[in-house]
Subunit: 241 residues, 2 copies
């Protein structure tokens, strides 16, 4: 397999023999920042068609062109897992999005809880961050970052059949997972740094589709809790087993 | 229990009735930055004596004094686990140290591998970072950050009886842990972003005390791998069970 150093996410369909015209930012990145020239090889993915080898045919910094050569790796989708989290400070929110992409969350959903400070997020910036993480971690999928919603509203509209793992700081031990847990669609919910409010916690505990887990005896920051919970899920119910 | 918002790590022994004189940086932080005044309560820990309630008796910004009132929580040490990692870019190295402190590593050891770029680290800065993480995460211990050493040298001097979990990217499945794994002293080794060299990998695989694990089918950054491996260890062999 031709060795490549650059992986680029594109929105176009990918197939052998296709010619792609790059956007201005993509061209600037490839030919300005990364100094690629005509004939250079790179890998492309679009979240659907797997990873493809491509070759530069025109290194114009305002709109270069690539030829798609051959399939390098088939599409590999992670299990059907969402990460729902309360946004925190910018750097740590970026970090959660990056880690969720690496750890194989399909959808990343920021929610406002009673103790969340963030009134708004920059969905476009977080989505770009998820794309960049996917480019770097070698995945062929890109998680979708949703707009900010309210936790209570989200629970009102919860999709039928999707289970919810939530991290309950007051628990010493989580319950074991049911036999039907594996293979089901899931979401992981990470609370804000201040924890859930009493009424939120009561509601979460009473939800028939919710499964509380414990992340050990130490207090974890929200970003640490996100990676730990994703690990726990992937080990027990996901594709790490 | 008196509610406190500030937790401070001190080097002095802690016991009821003691009076502590704070250092200039501690006094500046407490009375300058955090605006604490005489009579204010805070929590102290020193990594040995548990967490103590203390009260400000002199709010001098160059050298304040505290009275130690009573024990709030007994000392709680994490399991005997080290985190050995190859330092990466500054922000991500800081992050690994912070996460190791939160996740309950007792010792944090930066090592140079063949593919590590870092020639040196600022041990004092990383140690201060570990202290800050312990203050924030509610732990009563502070992991010790070691000076940078070379991986091969470290393996030559490996302490008898300590097991080593290492993340082998070429493995699809890790082996199950032996019966004597639980309760033994352990270390987790996280390689550099470029992976281990072929000779390092061969050496690691041949070590009788080494246990390879797989962190799933996606490529993880070193900082993500550190949190994921700490989670895996704590769930299977540590104090999360």
């Amino acid at each position: 397999m031709t060795n490549v150093k650059i992986r680029l996410y594109v929105e176009q369909a990918l197939g052998a023999g296709q010619r792609l015209t790059l956007t201005k930012p993509q061209s600037h990145y490839l030919f300005g920042v990364m100094r690629q020239t005509e004939g250079a090889h790179l890998a492309l993915f679009n979240g659907v068609d797997g990873e493809w080898l491509a070759q530069v045919v025109n290194a114009n910094k305002r709109g270069g062109e690539l030829d798609v050569v051959e399939l390098r790796r088939p599409q590999a989708d992670p299990p059907d897992l969402w990460l729902v989290f309360a946004p925190i400070k910018k750097a740590r929110t970026d970090f959660i999005v990056e880690k969720a992409a690496e750890m194989g969350a399909r959808r990343i959903i920021p929610v406002q809880t009673e103790f969340t400070n963030a009134e708004r997020i920059r969905q476009d910036r977080l989505q770009a961050h998820a794309v960049e993480a996917a480019e770097q971690c070698g995945g062929t999928y890109v998680p979708e970052v949703a707009e900010l919603s309210k936790l209570n509203q989200m629970l009102d509209d919860w999709p039928e059949g999707r289970k919810l793992m939530f991290c309950d700081e007051s628990l010493e031990h989580g319950a074991p997972f049911d036999a039907d847990s594996k293979g089901a669609p899931w979401a992981i919910l990470i609370g804000p740094e201040g924890g859930f409010s009493a009424s939120e916690r009561a509601r979460l505990r009473a939800l028939p589709f919710a499964h509380p887990v414990s992340l050990g005896p130490r207090i974890l920051r929200a970003d640490t809790a996100a990676v730990a919970a994703l690990t726990m899920w992937q080990m027990q119910l996901g594709d790490w087993t």
